[in-house]
């Protein structure tokens, strides 16, 4: 069988090599070459999407090459409804992020190589079925991201890059320990020294205390990635100081490594611990929703504002995930993708404005809608998409999460609903200050509206956001079975029963017997 997923990971790597091999005297080739190199994995991802069997719960397009029998390590890849759209999202965002990197003049080649390696790492994270390989990809991502922030970032980039790496490395240490421990336990089970195969780990029958410790080890790493309050303070610095493409990828894809990790590993491998800790996790999610949104309101820097809004939106995903209902989790997976599109788009747009004015301070603007009407219109569209306006993708995710969470954590779902109000406040207030009123600063008077290249970058995102908002069915049909499988696993291994919304039909035994 055609090794689609290996090719998918390999394409950006080959692209990086090709970009690196370009002759020094032809710098003008770097940008088109990198763009082309990022288009190939997109094509491959679409091929995967096309050939994905809807209605299947398990992994598809599985590849398995064993490296060591005794250690149970191998190149094992597979894709299911949970990872499918994260892969597609990654493949969609990278060409756009690279296309938006036209203004990178310093060490362009190294920049593009970093981007492509980053893409390979992220794709690898989502399709790995071997936990050691997963961990390797999880860590590989760190390096190009560190470079992107540290070299091509702005102002306080050194601090932001270091903070990002330290936070993440701290979590990774726990993750690696957890993975090794789990692999040894699994090895015991299958009669080897160790096994890192995800599929071997499904039937371990771990004691609940072991589950709890492993949940914590994995959970800390993922909580930092999401990020969860109070482990979130790397995010605003990293997002703000990163170059545009870095912010797009950070918010669009990188954070989802955390929410994906919770769903793929914690919920699936440690079901009892997940049930025990569900409410705690959901509370942390809701704190993130409210706290992130509240702090976003008062940010004087528009990029920081969007960064904090990500904390709020990711909180919704966590709430949905740990509501432990089919609807909640499906909404969460959907929201991962939707947030990638809307927040990715917002960072792209902020980058376009930054390219013109070289400031992100909200008070440096005002009245921009008069000088850049198209830009203002697109920004407003994205603001409403991000605020969860119905008929756009953000609504489908949040609505499904909220309706799905209410049956198990009603109080939290109601409080989370306030996040929807706060989103309107921080987005519309920022829009008001940047775009409306008279043009107060003379340096803004001559700003040029979006050019064709920039319109071409945001147009696909607009189309996807509308399409997923109006007709999310094809996507939910593919997510659904895999999510159901997660819930069924939890129900099979614990005494938890996911509530099914609807009237409770009480049939007394004697009445039933008479019929």
């Amino acid at each position: 069988m055609f090794p689609a997923l290996s090719v998918l990971i390999l394409l950006p790597v080959l692209g990086a090599v090709a970009v690196a091999a370009l002759p020094k005297r032809r710098p003008e080739l770097v940008f088109p070459m990198a763009l082309a190199a990022s288009a190939l994995p997109l094509g491959m991802a679409l091929w995967v999407l096309w050939n994905f069997e809807a209605g299947e719960a398990g992994f598809q397009m599985i590849e398995a090459a064993v490296w060591s029998e005794t250690l149970g390590i191998g190149w094992k890849l597979g894709i299911d409804g949970i990872s499918l759209f994260l892969v597609v999202l990654t493949a969609v965002l990278f060409p756009l992020a690279i296309a938006a990197s036209r203004s990178i003049a310093d060490r362009t080649k190294a920049y593009m190589v970093s981007m492509l390696v980053l893409e390979a790492g992220l794709l690898g994270v989502f399709v790995s079925l071997d936990l050691l390989v997963f961990f390797a990809f999880f860590e590989i991502v760190l390096v190009p991201m560190y470079l992107l922030i540290g070299i091509w970032g702005s102002g306080n980039r050194a601090y932001a890059a270091l903070k990002f790496v330290l936070y993440t490395a701290f979590g990774s240490a726990f993750l690696l320990a957890g993975i090794i421990a789990l692999a040894l336990i699994t090895g015991d089970q299958v009669g080897a020294t160790a096994s890192f195969d995800f599929r071997d780990m499904l039937d371990l029958g771990l004691s609940s205390s072991t589950q709890l410790w492993l949940f914590a080890a994995f959970g800390i790493a993922f909580a930092i990635k999401v990020p969860l309050f109070p482990l979130h303070t790397w995010l605003p610095d990293a997002h703000t100081e990163a170059p545009t493409a870095g912010s797009v990828v950070l918010a669009g894809v990188l954070l989802k490594m955390g929410t994906y990790g919770f769903l793929r590993f914690n919920l699936t491998l440690f079901p009892q611990a997940s049930v025990d800790l569900a409410e705690v996790m959901a509370v942390l999610g809701v704190i993130g929703i409210i706290y992130g949104a509240a702090v976003a309101i008062v940010q004087p820097d528009v990029k920081r504002l969007v960064a904090y809004s990500s904390i709020s939106h990711l909180g919704f995903i966590l709430l949905g995930t740990f509501a432990l209902t089919r609807q909640g989790i499906q909404g969460g997976v959907f929201q991962m993708v939707s947030h990638g599109l809307t927040t990715g788009a917002l960072f792209l747009l902020i980058g376009m404005l930054y390219d013109r004015r070289h400031t992100r301070r909200i008070d440096a603007y005002g009245g921009i809608a008069s000088v850049m009407p198209v830009y203002a219109g697109v920004f407003l569209f994205m603001a409403f998409a991000s605020a969860g306006l119905p008929s756009l993708s953000g609504f489908v995710g949040e609505f499904t999460i909220l309706l799905g969470s209410y049956p198990t954590v009603p109080g939290l779902a109601i409080v989370a609903g306030f996040g929807v109000i706060l989103a309107a406040i921080y987005l519309l207030w920022a829009y008001e200050r940047i775009f409306t009123g008279p043009v107060v600063h003379p340096e803004n008077e001559g700003l040029k509206d979006l050019v064709a290249r920039e319109v071409a970058i945001v147009a696909p995102l607009i189309v996807l956001i509308v399409a997923l908002g109006v007709y999310p069915k094809p996507m939910l049909d593919r997510i659904g079975p895999s999510v159901d499988a997660v819930i069924e696993r939890i129900e099979a291994t614990t005494d938890y029963v996911a509530p099914i919304p609807g009237p409770t039909l009480v049939v007394r035994a004697d009445e039933a017997g008479e019929d």
Binding site: F170, V298, P390, I421
Partner: protein
């Protein structure tokens, strides 16, 4: 025919889409005509496919378009029944007239095409709301009308006050939407579906009184936002920053009545929660009184009408709250006519005076603008409730139903009756200050009658405001019979059965109305405007300072808390710990190493140490070793 009712939404939606991209190229007046034609076409189609309900040849039907959110089992479904028909006809009928009017009113605006794109978007959104066959689709329309409202209020975004008003409207509406959203959570958990048919049909078996009360009170929160009722009415007066056709269409005739429609639509749930019904009715009648007292002292020609709208919607909410659904809907329809007319008349005046909105600088316009004046006379009589114009019939049907219900509702009836007196007073003041007495405008202003595209809709609406009462006279309850299929699941509150009592009640309210007119007439048709000094005028002119109160109680503390989160909790506490840890680790790494120190080393140190400790611990604990 019924299968095609999605066309009602699609026509203006396509119009909006075309105008967003081609509005500038179509220009003036082409863009306006395109928009007007799409709405008129929707109106015509609604008439054709709805007329069958009169003779009973068409029956209520649900149309399933496509599966929308399979995770929740939610489909895109529309419901075509007499209630939906009524709303659709009001929205598209009044909507088409206002589109036409706006072609004249927006003449010369540089964003002419964009304006009509938004106006069409509003019609499509509103029709989504009223045609929805389940709560989710209704919520889509509910929020999208909020979007259109935002876009149109802040249409002249160069004006900071317009931009702020748009934002305020959307945010306050979202507070109401939160209530709606939570209601949907409870409904979904209780029924497992959001489908109107299933929910309403099985509600008596599924819902306890407690749950029904919770759901309906949450729906009321939604209604108070969208329909500008206490305590969420504060956005509507500011919404007058929008162009006047917008005020007429969205903030008077149609969108703000969405809450009334929603309560009527969900009557089967309110039926199970008498406490909620009493609360809704009380909120409605108190809003009617409260807003009327503010309307009395306003000096801006549009702000009087804005508070009047809040007050009149209060009547409607009062009506549907006590299960007088037909009466509430009846008043919704007649109000759509005369309030749209009043706003368009106000727009005509503002247009003629070059943008002046202060009534103290008007007066004496009756001879200069005869068409506007005479249509405004009709509107004034209609809203005041003078026999036999439209407002008389619909308002008195609500009051009659309250009287017949007795108990608490007798008290509410008395408040409603007194509000009718206030209404007659402030509307007479409005008419007199604008059109009667001596001219008070400055010499450089040259008022003129508006062009036919503007006066034409005035005349048509004046006609409707005069005769719409015939829709549901006490002896020929046409509207009630028409709406019957939509209210099969509820028991309606009706006015007293005896025509004598009805006539006596009507006579009583007529006396109060005439009294209000006479008092105001004597006061405001004098050569000089009376001084409006004194505590009452001062307090009501400032709307009881409710905006300031909200600012102090919610906005300022909210911002302060956010700022504290950002600066202290995030900045000092968490980052303080993080940076402190970073320094410690760095020192630790330096201490361990005789070579250089740096982040790579601290990374390695944290990493290695962490791995080791955890590995050993987990292995021991996990029973592997």
């Amino acid at each position: 025919m019924t299968d095609l009712i999605w066309l009602l939404i699609a026509l203006p939606a396509v119009g909006a889409a075309v105008l967003v991209f081609l509005g500038r190229r179509l220009g003036e007046p082409g863009a306006g005509w395109l928009a007007t034609v799409t709405v008129a076409a929707s109106f015509a189609f609604a008439v054709v496919s709805g007329v069958g309900f009169v003779g009973g040849t068409v029956h209520p039907a649900t149309v399933e378009l496509f599966s929308w959110i399979p995770a929740l089992g939610v489909d895109a479904t529309l419901l075509w029944d007499p209630l939906a028909v009524t709303m659709t006809l009001v929205v598209t009928g009044v909507g088409a007239l206002i589109h036409l009017y706006a072609i004249g009113y927006m003449h010369g605006d540089p964003r002419f095409g964009r304006f009509f794109a938004y106006l069409n978007l509003f019609i499509a959104s509103m029709l989504t709301l009223v045609l929805a066959g389940n709560f989710a689709v209704m919520f889509v329309g509910w929020e999208l009308v909020g979007l259109s409202s935002y876009l149109l209020i802040s249409f002249w975004f160069e004006r900071p006050s317009a931009a702020a008003a748009g934002k305020k409207a959307f945010i306050v509406n979202r507070i109401g939407d939160w209530g709606f959203l939570v209601a949907l959570m409870v409904i979904f958990a209780a029924f497992g579906t959001l489908d109107f048919g299933t929910v309403f049909g099985s509600a008596p078996e599924v819902l306890s009184v407690g749950t029904a009360t919770v759901i309906t009170l949450l729906l009321l929160v939604g209604a108070t936002g969208k329909s500008a009722q206490l305590p969420l009415y504060v956005w509507l007066p500011d919404a007058m920053e929008g162009p006047t056709p917008v005020s007429a269409l969205i903030h008077a005739a149609t969108m703000v009545t969405a809450g009334v429609y929603m309560i009527a639509r969900t009557g089967a749930l309110f039926e199970l929660a008498p406490v909620s019904q009493a609360i809704v009715a009380t909120v409605g009648v108190l809003t009617a009184l409260f807003a009327a007292t503010i309307a009395i002292s306003q000096r801006d020609i549009k702000r009087v009408l804005a508070y009047s709208t809040i007050s009149q919607i209060g009547y409607m909410i009062f009506g549907v709250g006590m299960a007088a659904y037909t009466a509430g809907m009846f008043h919704l329809v007649t109000h759509a006519f005369f309030k749209a007319l009043l706003f368009l008349g106000a727009g005509s005046v503002i247009h003629a005076l070059g943008g002046e909105q202060d009534m103290r600088k008007m007066g004496g316009l009756r001879t200069v603008m005869p068409v506007t004046f005479w249509t405004m006379v009709i509107a004034w009589l209609a809203i005041s409730g003078v026999f036999p114009l439209a407002g008389f019939w619909s308002k008195d049907e609500i009051l009659g139903a309250a009287f017949a219900k007795g108990g608490l509702y007798t008290g509410l009836w008395a408040i409603g009756l007194f509000t009718a007196f206030l209404t007659a007073f402030y509307m007479t003041r409005w008419l007199a200050m604008t059109f009667l007495g001596e001219p008070r405008w400055s010499d450089d202003v040259h008022p003129h009658e508006s062009p036919w595209v503007m006066t034409g809709p005035l005349v048509i609406l004046a006609f409707a405001s005069t005769f719409a009462g015939a829709l549901n006279t006490p002896w020929r309850l046409a509207l009630e019979r028409f709406l019957e299929p939509s209210f099969e699941l509820v028991t309606q509150s009706l006015p007293p059965e005896s025509i004598g009592v009805v006539a006596a009640l009507a006579g009583l309210s007529l006396v109060l109305v005439v009294l209000g007119i006479v008092v105001a007439w004597r006061r405001y048709t004098t050569a000089e405007l009376p001084a409006e000094a004194g505590r009452f005028w001062y307090v009501t002119l400032h709307g009881y300072w409710v905006d300031d109160l909200y600012g102090r109680v919610f906005v300022l503390p909210g911002k302060a808390l956010s700022a504290w989160f950002a600066a202290v909790l995030d900045g000092t506490v968490i980052d303080g710990i993080v940076n402190g840890l970073g320094r410690t680790v760095r020192g630790f790494g330096a201490a361990m190493s005789t070579l250089q120190s740096g982040w790579v080393r601290s990374y390695a140190a944290v990493f290695g140490g962490g791995v080791l400790v955890l590995l050993v611990w987990t292995l021991v604990h996990g029973g592997v070793i």
